[in-house]
């Protein structure tokens, strides 16, 4: 029995390390700069033929390639590896430890791999020197670190990050759910709270009138489900406003917003990007560690809203719970039904609801 127990442990470790390796050596990351430039052909050569074939997929691929290229550039720019001291304060003394990590390279997730398997698996967010910090954001200096998950006594930060990530997933779904002849532009989502009972994402689609059927909602939920099953990490990258503009030049909403976003940031010219799978989105963050932390989830409704000036906007709404948190179906149905109601938070951008 003991043998088998060890054997199992070993297997789990191996599997886990494999995941980790896969993450580090993702094909996205491995894309070289040359490759990237070739993929964004229309940018450099600006052929009329390629411009004509602009679809959601091509835009997404271009953004992804730019993101990957920028990321590799940033990693390679770290020429000298410096060591930093990361102090972990666990629940008891036996758990606490001090780790020697690499500056600008190691992330809180790397720290968890040195501490405990369970923490690596469950933690959604790190707290570095008292500030919430993404799990996949490299550490800048020696620091104290703690890890948050959803079953703590007051998981406020983790909840908010979870809700934000929900919106990211909605935008991911909206981006790839439609046929090529419908052009999708994701509006930057507004500040959200838990009170309305659903996270949301405003999306501009050149669809005149559309109220999705139940089956269509279910089909869109399925996209989300597949993404969650992949347990993909959510990466973070800070880029300059220029690059951001280059990436989002097809999106008229983002194009207008990026300068103001960049002004608000600390260095006045940086924009924070998040990537899940191959979908890139602007957000201040922080987000949770990976999509596998999502448990029960549902894309509950798509409400049409009017936008002054440009075409039709649709408000995507969804409800989700962390995988850590079990809930009976009776209560889940109540939450789900509540998520179907129109979420009217930050309606000032959107001046008027079209249909009640």
């Amino acid at each position: 029995m003991m043998l088998s127990r060890y054997r199992k442990l070993e297997l789990i470790c191996r599997k886990f390390s494999k995941n980790h390796v896969r993450f580090l050596s993702q094909p996205n990351l491995a894309v070289s700069a040359d490759n990237a430039s070739s993929t964004l052909g229309h940018e450099t050569s600006s052929d009329s033929s390629t411009k004509a074939a602009i679809t959601n997929d091509t835009i997404r691929a271009r953004r992804n390639a730019l993101f990957s290229a920028e990321k590799t550039r940033q990693i390679e720019s770290v020429r000298r590896i410096e060591k930093i001291e990361v102090v972990y304060r666990g629940q008891n003394e036996a758990e606490s430890c001090t780790l020697m990590m690499n500056k600008h390279l190691s992330t809180p997730y790397d720290c968890t791999l040195h501490i405990k398997q369970m923490i690596a698996r469950r933690s959604a967010l790190a707290v570095v020197d008292g500030k919430p910090w993404d799990m996949h954001r490299p550490l800048n200096a020696s620091c104290d670190i703690q890890f948050l998950h959803f079953l703590e006594e007051n998981p406020y930060e983790a909840n908010m990050a979870f809700w934000r990530t929900g919106s990211l997933l909605l935008s991911y779904v909206a981006d790839r759910a439609f046929r090529d002849d419908f052009f999708v532009q994701v509006h930057s989502w507004p500040y959200q709270e838990l009170q309305p009972g659903s996270f949301l994402c405003d999306v501009g689609i050149n669809l005149p009138e559309w109220t999705p059927r139940e089956e269509e909602l279910r089909a869109m939920t399925l996209i989300m489900t597949r993404l969650i099953a992949k347990k993909l990490p959510i990466e973070r990258l800070e880029v300059s406003a220029d690059l951001a503009l280059k990436m989002f030049e097809d999106n008229q909403f983002k194009k207008a917003q990026i300068p103001s976003i960049a002004e608000k940031s600390a260095s006045k010219e940086r924009v924070t990007l998040y990537r899940v799978d191959d979908h890139v989105e602007i957000s201040n963050g922080p987000m949770i560690a990976n999509t596998g932390l999502f448990g029960r989830h549902q894309l509950t409704a798509v409400h049409p809203v009017n936008y002054h000036g440009v075409g039709q906007l649709y408000r995507f709404q969804g409800v989700a719970l962390p995988a850590q948190q079990p809930l009976n179906y009776f209560a889940w149905n109540i939450l789900q039904n509540r998520g179907r109601q129109f979420n009217s938070s930050s309606l000032s951008i959107v001046t008027d609801r079209k249909t009640p």
Partner: protein, 200 residues
């Protein structure tokens, strides 16, 4: 007093999972002997590990024995004899009356607690049987306040909505009785929409 509380621990059909033999056939006497040995161990160490069915059966015996000891005290001869029978090591008799009886007089039964130990092999089920108030660190973690968890926040909000709707429906009923005047629904919506906008 307390017999009713133990009933939840007692299955409707009598259990005889503990089987012990001296020779070839399990006997009644040896069964009690086995129970007695395990009870002694439990009272000595206050926390023991054993098979699940053994643990559940010994829990029943322990509950009854402690109840009697608390009810009648050491001067009661038959109780003393029973305790003396179950405690093979005789210093535990003193421990029972001097330590456990004052301790459990404060508690409400059940006085024992059972924890199922997670094992790799599903067929082997083992339990941790302990007397309450033992000096060891607790097996179960400290109960947390779950008010801030995502589910509870969402359900609390759902409850608030539900109550609000109910009150509205009732007031509407009363109004319709007095004078059928309808409030414009859009006005209430407009209030909600005029909240300050916060963009990220």
């Amino acid at each position: 007093m307390s017999y009713d509380k133990i009933r939840t621990l007692v299955p409707p059909k009598a259990w005889k999972h503990i089987k012990a033999t001296w020779g070839t056939v399990p006997t009644y006497a040896m069964r009690l002997e086995k129970i007695r040995q395990m009870m002694t161990g439990l009272f000595r160490y206050e926390r023991i590990e054993c098979h699940d069915k053994y643990g559940l059966e010994i829990q029943q015996y322990t509950e009854l024995l402690l109840q009697e000891a608390i009810k009648y005290g050491p001067r009661h001869k038959p109780t003393m004899e029973t305790v003396d029978f179950y405690m093979i090591e005789k210093d535990l008799v003193h421990k029972t009356f001097k330590l456990f009886v004052p301790r459990f007089a404060r508690f409400e039964p059940p006085y024992t607690k059972i924890h199922f130990i997670p094992t790799q092999n599903r067929e082997i089920k083992r339990v941790l049987l302990e007397l309450k108030g033992n000096p060891f660190p607790p097996v179960e973690p400290r109960p947390l306040d779950r008010k801030g968890s995502l589910v509870n926040i969402l359900l609390a909000e759902a409850k608030r909505d539900y109550v609000r709707q109910k009150v509205k429906a009732e007031s509407a009923k009363e109004e319709s009785r007095d004078a059928p005047v309808e409030e414009p629904v859009e006005a209430t919506q407009a209030k909600e929409t005029t909240e300050a906008i916060k963009e990220e």
